[in-house]
């Protein structure tokens, strides 16, 4: 499936230029963190890479055919979207739409519900759970198909410390079992803890792209330097 390559990628919304042109290559493994100020285009970029936003220009290609690559990706949104179903049914949903029989899908969903600490809530309607619980379900639902590539859009933006720790633990485990992760975050501490590579965005462009250690030790651009220092980047 890898490398994933974005070539001259750009996105427009109602004729307004949002991001691009962006050229980017992501290799297998590790966690790539997208950082940048509000409105830099982080969410648009990961949605475009995942293929849920129409590109105005350019393309995203994989080493495997597009359909196969699509089937091996998952996405976790900033605000978790819960199906109006129970926790178990939410977890089993991606397996069932991929043709797995209901019994084995539910069995696997049960294992995941236990793993994310929601075994007591398996039969409760997922949309009625707390924000942290919903985000854990969204992440488990994304990981249950063992994707090779996982996109996350600020997955812990509205969560408290305890929920953030649990989400990060799940992400670390997924990464160690071979899932390549691309996530956007505002949280510099989280980026320091999680990132292997950093993509810093500004004004719809990639301002810097480097290994995480190098990025935090010697920020390659002025904007990145200001951002890490906690200054306002305009």
């Amino acid at each position: 499936m890898f490398p994933m390559t974005a070539c001259d990628l750009s996105v427009k919304v109602r004729q307004k230029h949002i991001i691009g042109p962006i050229n980017l290559t992501i290799n297998e493994g590790g966690i790539t963190v997208l950082m940048g100020p509000n409105g830099a285009g982080k969410t648009t970029l990961i949605k475009a890479l995942h293929g849920i936003i129409r590109l105005a220009n350019g393309q995203v290609t994989f080493a495997t055919p597009a359909k196969t690559a699509q089937e091996q990706q998952s996405f976790v949104f900033q605000s978790p979207i819960m199906l109006r179903r129970s926790v178990l049914e939410n977890l089993a949903y991606p397996l069932m739409i991929n043709g797995q029989d209901k019994q084995s899908a539910m069995e696997r969903a049960r294992t995941w519900a236990t793993k994310i600490g929601l075994s007591a809530h398996m039969d409760r309607p997922a949309p009625f759970l707390s924000g942290g619980e919903k985000q854990k379900i969204a992440l488990a639902r994304a990981l249950i198909t063992s994707p090779k590539l996982l996109f996350l859009d600020e997955p812990t933006a509205s969560l408290d410390g305890a929920a953030t720790v649990e989400i990060e633990a799940l992400l670390s485990e997924a990464q160690s079992t071979g899932t390549t992760i691309i996530m956007s975050t505002h949280n510099i501490g989280q980026a320091r803890r999680m990132a292997n590579r950093v993509l810093f965005m500004k004004d719809g462009q990639i301002d810097a792209h480097s290994a995480a250690n190098a990025f935090f030790d010697t920020p390659p651009t002025e904007a990145a330097q200001k951002f890490i220092a906690g200054d306002i980047v305009v």
Partner: protein
């Protein structure tokens, strides 16, 4: 006021004694209405889901037309169905005029736009909630429609009940195409109309109370079976 009181007394008496004519007419009313509702739901619910999920040419025109047809005058529908099913009409050879089948056809034409419009409104909202998730999961169009129909089933039940309410209280169209023939096509509404024209207000009122009771009973039963208005449910 006297007529009202007599009507209530007669309704209770007819119901308690299980008057044969009343039972026959009530069962026919239910059979015609539920048959129409069943056929209508088969058309309306998938159509509503398709209109919610798919974008195609003339979609807006279809939605506007269905909304406009919600206020379709039943007498006009009855007249058109009469002309189509009469001996000289294009479907006269089927011999359906003055049968319960003709009544079902007329009711289907009347309630399908109503059910479709209400169902579409609910499914459109559900689709805007699910859109990003189902697109990101790479679901097929059929899977999206199935998911919406299942997860929106309680809202769809309300749409169906609105159709049921309109159909069971309908008189103009079924009077024209059914003919109000005793022991053949007479239903509660046409019987009420007949008794009113004969001046037997007490019996007409009694039938009216039975009709209201029947409609309420079906609504309550459906809500009870659908487990609506319970904590943590939709």
């Amino acid at each position: 006021m006297n007529d009202l009181w007599n009507g209530i007394q007669q309704a209770i008496s007819l119901t308690l004694t299980l008057d044969a004519d009343l039972v026959e007419i009530s069962l026919r009313s239910l059979r015609v209405t539920l048959s129409a509702l069943f056929v209508s739901c088969l058309i309306a619910l998938p159509l509503a889901a398709i209109l919610a999920v798919r974008r195609f040419k003339y979609r807006r025109l279809i939605i506007s037309t269905l909304n406009a047809l919600m206020g379709l005058p039943p007498v006009v529908v009855g007249l058109i169905v009469y002309i189509l099913l009469s001996r000289s009409g294009p479907f006269g050879v089927l011999g359906l005029l003055f049968t319960t089948h003709a009544m079902v056809i007329a009711q289907v034409i009347i309630i399908t736009p109503l059910i479709t419009s209400i169902a579409h409104q609910s499914l459109r909202e559900l689709w805007s909630e699910y859109h990003d998730l189902l697109i990101s999961m790479n679901t097929s169009k059929w899977q999206r429609i199935k998911t919406l129909l299942w997860d929106g089933r309680r809202a769809l039940m309300t749409a169906s009940l609105a159709g049921f309410g309109r159909a069971i209280g309908e008189v103009g169209a079924i009077m024209i195409v059914g003919g109000n023939i005793d022991h053949a096509t007479r239903v509660l509404t046409t019987a009420i109309s007949l008794e009113t024209s004969k001046g037997d207000f007490a019996l007409a009122l009694a039938l009216g109370f039975v009709l209201i009771t029947l409609a309420l009973a079906v609504n309550f039963t459906t809500h009870w079976l659908g487990r609506t208005e319970r904590e943590g449910r939709w």
